[in-house]
Amino acid sequence: MTKSDVTRRGVLKTGAVAGAGVALPTIFTASSAAAYTNEPTGGSVTLGFNVPQTGPYAEEGNDELLAQQLAVEHLNGEGDGGCLNTFTSKALKGNGILGKKVEFVTGDTQTKSDAARASAKSMIEKDGAIMINGGSSSGVAVAVQGLCQEAGVIFMAGLTHANDTTGKDKKANGFRHFFNAYMSGAALAPVLAAEMGKERRAYHLTADYNWGWTQEESIVASTEAMGWETVNTVKTPLASTDFSSYIAPVLNSGADVLVLNHYGGNMVNSLTNAIQFGLLDKVVNNKDFKIVVPLYSELMAAGAGENIKGVLGSMNWNWQLQDEGTKAFVKSFGEKYGKPPSNSAQTCYAQVLLYADACERAGTFNPCGVVEALEGFEFDGLGNGPTLYRADDHQCFKDVLVVRGALNPTNAYDTLEIVEKTPVEQVTYAPDHPMFAGGDLGKCNPGA
């Protein structure tokens, strides 16, 4: 028996006629003319945008959704075209994808693996979505990536920073535009050494789940490589809302740097608590105490308010970059929504364009064709500088930004300032690097 994850739209449009009457469960071998899952046969193609719309990351998901809607407009030739004008690949013409008008459906991941898979499945099974884009956590990204591999559609992860997404959980149908924990470590370490010296003693507070661990591992490895000492690494429960009992021991530990491997609400609270305890005013080992937040986002910066002043971290992208791609994107996003886009918004926007471009170049929506077109693809003009989608693990390689909480922000949006653009060579690693070992990309799955 063959797998046939055919949805109604695919069957309907290809005109596979089924007899009326009650069918028995045992004869479900629909032999369809579709060559792959959800082959679009009408005048339009449907993309699925799966982002958190409820729960703590709702704000981020909303930003991603806005960017994706903008990308659809640009693909369909509406608006000012955004990055279509700066993208080095000129396959996209503003007439949809392969001449088909782009439509989209949305779903709510709730930042839960189960809910995310349910909404992705609903988009695939009910709405005939041909690719799933977006998301705001590594757990969700890995879960949905697995689903898309099984179902035979393309998955472009949104914000996912754990090494595992393109490490031990990598899948042929999945791609990641975002950077990862290893890259954060590799990009941050030289800047940290330059700003804080090579003799520092670091204390890590780490969110006690997969992403936190991989980030801790990466940062510890790269800081120790340049001479830092790790005093202690402490795991904090995900459900923590108050970190006082974790911050207090830092005071007397002899550490002079605190690394917060937290994200979202956890990071906002732990940083707020650390500032409350006056850590930044302390002098330990004759050095000013410093705090590092390896993974930053604009929304976290907004949530942390004044507290992030001077705190170093890394980012995938920032709207203050001055290249043509960034300017074009910030302009059309800013004019439409009245605020600059966040780095997860940029990721999702770029991914939609990249997917569309890959379809155009491949001349088909078939996931296997798209995978082939994206593997080893090099481009520029989407805001991240020269970029490579590596074939070995479907990780994207590009410059990584080291940023700092601005000391004198002039408005609500320039709370972060770019310290350095770490060149891509410095953050590149071998596909079989131990932190990424153990996975199997498998073969692309077209579904039908």
């Binding site: 028996m1 063959t2 797998k3 046939s4 994850d5 055919v6 949805t7 109604r8 069957v11 309907l12 596979a16 089924a18 007899g19 009326a20 069918a23 469960p25 004869i27 479900f28 071998t29 629909a30 719309q53 409820t54 709702a58 998901g61 909303n62 959704l65 809607q69 989209f104 949305t106 779903g107 709510d108 839960k112 693996s113 189960d114 349910a118 909404s119 499945k121 609903s122 988009m123 099974e125 009910k126 956590s137 590594s138 757990g139 890995v142 879960a143 697995g146 689903l147 099984e150 179902a151 595992d164 959980d169 006690d208 789940y209 997969n210 795991k235 429960p237 459900a239 199997d440 498998g442």
Partner: protein
Amino acid sequence: MFGLDKKDTSLLIVVALLTLLAPFILNPFPTDSGLAQFNAGYPDLMQRFIIFGIFAVGFNILFGLTGYLSFGHAAFLGVGSYSAVWMFKLLSYNILPAIALAVVVAGLFSLLIGYVSLRRSGIYFSILTLAFAQMSFALAYSVLSNPKFNLTNGETGLQVYNDDPQILQGANAPDLPHLFGLSMRSTYTMEVGPWAFDFNAGYYVCAVIMMIAFYLAIRIFRSPFGMMLRAVKSNQQRMNYTGLNTRPYTLAAFVISGMYAGLAGGLMAAMDPLAGAERMQWTASGEVVLMTILGGTGTLIGPVLGAGFIKYFENIFSKINDSVLHGWFAFLPDGLEDAVVTIIHPFVGKGWHLTLGILFMLVVIFLPGGLVEGGQRLAKWIRNRGKTEDKTSGKTEPAE
């Protein structure tokens, strides 16, 4: 029939018809019409209706009959899911051993927790079960997923990898959960004019199991054992004074409902081979409590209705975004269209929680017996109007 009286038999038949014909009933709107947004007849959601229905029916055996309110039943569902995925990883993708182990492990786990928790009653019992479930969740989420001893794979969820042993997996067997070769994902789509109906193998496996589970629940409700449980609910002290030890009965009910939860968890993994820790969180336990109360505590069909109600809003309403709204109201003049969209906007898409919250309140305020009471009132109203032939009366058959 099957040792049931006439009323129960007709209830069982109605449930059987509803589940078997669900692909038609849940897809009332033509595929290309705007209202297709409200269609729920796609495999994933139909499976979820059934699975959560089983979960809630099982929960109701404990809560509806004995009155013991467990706030930790999601732990059993989670344990069931983990067991099932482990069977996929170690043996093969065949769902039978997976579901069997899920039920057994959940049964043992609930025996352990039930034995301890049932030493207390009322809110103290609730908090004990909550504490056990929250501990299981915390352990599954982080402690039991450390690289040295990775039982749950933490945040990411337990999945099957290509390098897993799968010692019984045949060379030709599907690379997805299957029942002796019948893939749970295989779907047959029937097209009738503008309509399309999905018949999914996984759904019908769930449906058959659900009918068995439902039949067993009826038997338990009507048995002397069920009577004993009801007696515990109405006055436990009196039972104790008559010299009867009620603990074995309540424990049996607890374990049975735990096994139902494990069955649901196993089925969930069988339909979608992934087990995540969030399934064990208190919010998940709370959800089944809400499903049961919303549908009608102590009724047979109520919990199933409640489960369907909540899952429907979660999956359908969360997907209605602004562009869908604009599509619906495009026929209105521009200004009016925007106004209508602005009014509806907070209640759909990212606002689906709000709608659900309001409906919880409305149902519990106006229908003290839950959705079942709503059905009964509707049926009565229809009967009073003399339209006994109406089709919907089948759906609203009083449960007891």
